[in-house]
């Protein structure tokens, strides 16, 4: 199958959906002629024009507000927030408006909008451009949350997100943008709420999100040499969460490591851990281990940043504590 990068796959999903549905449009800072801060929207501006690939002022509240208003009145906006860190400045529009409109109005409104935002560190962008804030949104009923880890998933999940009639947070990892993978051509939809077993194994389950999936696979490769077999599960969508897939794997292996890039405390890994503890405690043959960033903002200098961020070795170390 042909190879596409993660960002090309996202762009392909956007392109196909914009061709398919004239109500789909993009808006965000520098998404037009400039092609997006990370080049994700690329040349879409040429094909669809400035109306449907709209450059906005640096004005996140306005971006999300406009998306909410447009979504409530028949459009399918796909706003981009340049860094997920900037979501903090438009939280009201997301949390109090987008997430709750349908509910507050007794089900009489529909908010089909997909907010794209890059997460993650690793590029010396420091504390305000490197966070992974996905857990915040998983705490708000009314929002769906997606974190693709591969190019193919990015395409399939983004397509599903755009077609979904709810506000969806679509978190892309910056370091994954150039990573290539096989991506199906043409229409490709990955349904929301379905986890993917990225590698089958028998000794320890690693539930990993976003970039930690590839790190978990690396760890699995290394540990296989030592005779430890990892099963790597990528939930892909955090809300809705495919609990069954995770529980089935935990029941099989009895041991679980949950890996996310966000700081560990109160991260989404805590939710997964709680689900396992509530529903599969009797299958656990070791404590649940979490791997994530240490308790500090993301620092600037590479050496500091690498110390804070979780890597393959952290997963390996966690696994070894369990077997």
């Amino acid at each position: 199958m042909r190879q596409l990068s993660y960002s090309e796959a996202i762009r392909e999903a956007l392109r196909l959906e914009m061709r398919r549905d004239s109500t789909v449009f993009l808006l965000g800072e520098d998404v037009g002629q400039f092609g997006g801060c990370f080049g994700v929207t690329g040349d879409l501006y040429k094909e669809f024009g400035e109306d449907r690939v709209r450059d906005t002022p640096i004005s996140e509240t306005a971006i999300i507000g406009a998306a909410v208003g447009a979504a409530a009145t028949g459009m399918r906006p796909v706003p981009e927030i340049m860094f997920c860190d900037f979501l903090t400045v438009c939280m009201d529009q997301l949390v109090n408006q987008a997430a709750k409109m349908r509910y507050m109005f007794g089900g009489k409104a529909k908010l089909p909008m997909t907010v794209r935002a890059p997460v993650g560190g690793g590029i010396s962008a420091a504390a305000q451009h490197s966070q992974s804030l996905e857990a915040w949104f998983t705490h708000v009923p009314g929002i769906k949350v997606i974190m693709p880890s591969t190019a193919a998933d990015a395409k399939g999940l983004l397509t599903a997100a755009i077609r979904d009639d709810n506000p969806v947070m679509f978190f892309e990892h910056k370091l994954l943008y150039p990573v290539k993978g096989e991506v199906p051509e043409g229409e490709y939809v990955v349904p929301l709420g379905r986890a993917d077993v990225k590698r089958e194994g028998s000794d320890v389950t690693v539930v990993a999100t976003s970039i930690m999936v590839s790190r978990a696979l690396e760890a699995a490769e290394k540990l296989a040499a030592e005779g430890i077999s990892l099963e790597v599960i990528d939930p892909r969508t955090l809300v809705p969460l495919d609990e069954d897939a995770i529980l089935a794997s935990v029941e099989k292996t009895g041991r679980v490591v949950i890996a996310q890039e966000a700081v560990t405390r109160s991260g989404f890994s805590a939710e997964i851990a709680a689900v396992i503890a509530e529903k599969a405690l009797d299958y656990l043959d070791a404590p649940i281990k979490r791997v994530g960033s240490k308790w500090a903002p993301i620092p600037f200098a590479g050496v500091l940043e690498q110390f804070i961020l979780p890597g393959t070795e952290d997963i390996i170390a966690a696994v070894k504590e369990l077997v």
Binding site: G254, L281, D282, Y283, L284, D285, A286, P287, E321, L322
Partner: protein, 448 residues
């Protein structure tokens, strides 16, 4: 299904009891209704009967104390094991269920000081153990931190298959010695045999040191401060600490009392005989109705004046003392009081008192006269406000109207709680008791 043997609740106020003796050996077959162990509370000793039949598995050894409704043992069917979860569920803080009700309870510390047996096992290992009915304490953990993992249970099960499927006899039950590396080294150095130490949990350095200490001390006998002794110790200390005691003594002539007693005891059966103590009890009971402060109780910020007199009568036992209660002693006739005291004392010595017969007194009389004691300073039986000590009654020289006369006398020693009772009041009360004894018409024997 294993039946739990629980520490029963034997009275309104009982919260814990000490197993003073197992009446059936571990592993023996018991029938429903068989007395299986003796319980000693702060007040009494009771025999507990089996609620069911089965093979007795003792969990708590003699001398250990258990909370009410705590599991002290099991009655097992042939080939049955103690349930696995019993090994690690924490003991409930309180319980209200009656003994015959099935109560979810816990394994129990072998001795009060020791920590509960906590088997470190993963949930999966516990589930597997539960499913296969094995006791996790018998399984050696190989997981991180010595945790028992599911695989350990599996390998234990494999081992078990290879052993003969009979119930092991006592002594064979013990698993290989589990001890920390430090404990093993220390035991070797000190010449302690780890196999002789308790195997309820992994042995630590501390256990070995304790064993070594015990070995050094040799002949000296050490017994746990438990049961009645422990309770007496607590009560005495508490009373002495809580109440500022004052003791006053007063000599009482008992010639008239002797005459009355002689008269009353003429033509009367042994059971109906009246002792000096009975007269004193009755006199005190009457006086108490006139001096309510002596019959009162301090309850936090309030003083309770009781409108009845429940007379505690101290009875010495072989290994302690107990205070049965004559309820409404002020309203009962002398003879009724006498009969009741006799009955209570007999049953006290036979350890046949119910808990309610030894609680609720408002005043106590304690008599050391039979041991030749002239006077003493009794300690108040809390939460009462005073206690009357009775000394030896004998003939003594007394100055009467300027000349020495021989009279039958005794000394009454009244200890009172000075928070509640003033010296003058106490003196008046004691004077009133003397008056009633010296002129016993006030005692109203005719009600008998």
């Amino acid at each position: 299904m294993a039946q739990e043997v629980l520490m029963p609740k034997l009275g309104l106020t009982m919260t814990e009891g000490t197993i003073c003796a197992w009446l059936k050996p571990d592993g023996s077959y018991v029938n429903k209704g068989d007395p299986i162990f003796e319980v000693e509370t702060d007040k009494i000793t009771n025999k507990v009967e089996a609620m069911d039949e089965g093979i007795l598995k003792i969990v708590l050894p003699e001398g250990s104390t258990a909370k009410v409704t705590q599991v002290v043992g099991y009655l097992l069917a042939e080939g049955e094991e103690i349930p696995a979860e019993a090994a690690d569920v924490a003991a409930p803080a309180t319980a209200t269920a009656a003994p015959q009700e099935e109560v979810k309870a816990a394994a129990v510390p072998a001795e009060p000081k020791k920590e509960p047996v906590r088997v470190r096992a993963t949930p999966a290992a516990k589930r597997r153990a539960r499913e296969s009915g094995i006791d996790l304490t018998q399984v050696t953990g190989t997981g991180p931190g010595g945790r028992i993992v599911e695989a350990d249970v599996e390998s234990y099960l494999e081992q078990q298959k290879e052993l003969p499927a009979t119930l092991p006899s006592e002594g064979e039950i013990s698993a290989p010695v589990k001890a920390t590396p430090t404990a093993v080294k220390l035991a070797r150095d000190l010449g302690i045999d780890l196999a002789e130490l308790s195997q309820e949990r992994r042995l630590t350095k501390r256990d070995v040191l304790a064993a070594a200490l015990l070995a050094e001390e040799g002949e000296e006998e050490r017994v746990p401060l438990a049961g009645m002794r422990k309770v007496i110790a607590q009560h005495m200390l508490e009373s002495w600490t809580v109440a500022p005691h004052v003791t006053i003594n007063m000599e009482v002539e008992m010639d008239r009392a002797r005459a009355i007693r002689k008269e009353l005891n003429a033509d009367c059966t042994q059971e109906d005989r009246i002792s000096y103590n009975d007269l004193i009890i009755k006199a005190a009971a009457q006086a108490l109705t006139e001096y309510p402060a002596l019959n009162g109780t301090i309850d936090a910020e309030e003083i309770i004046y009781h409108n009845y007199v429940h007379m505690g009568v101290a009875v010495a036992l072989e290994d302690g003392l107990i205070v049965p209660v004559v309820r409404h002693a002020d309203k009962k006739s002398l003879r009724e009081v006498a009969r009741e005291v006799k009955d209570l004392a007999q049953r006290a010595r036979a350890e046949r008192l119910s808990l309610d017969e030894v609680t609720g007194s408002t005043f106590t009389v304690t008599n050391l006269g039979m041991f030749g004691v002239d006077d003493f300073t009794p300690i108040i039986n809390q939460p009462e406000s005073a206690i009357l000590g009775v000394g030896t009654i004998k003939e003594r020289p007394v100055v009467v109207d300027g000349s020495i006369d021989i009279r039958l006398t005794m000394t009454l020693s009244l200890s009172f709680d000075h928070r509640l009772v003033d010296g003058s009041v106490a003196a008046e009360f004691l004077g009133r008791v003397r008056e009633l004894l010296e002129k016993p018409y006030g005692v109203r024997p005719e009600i008998a």
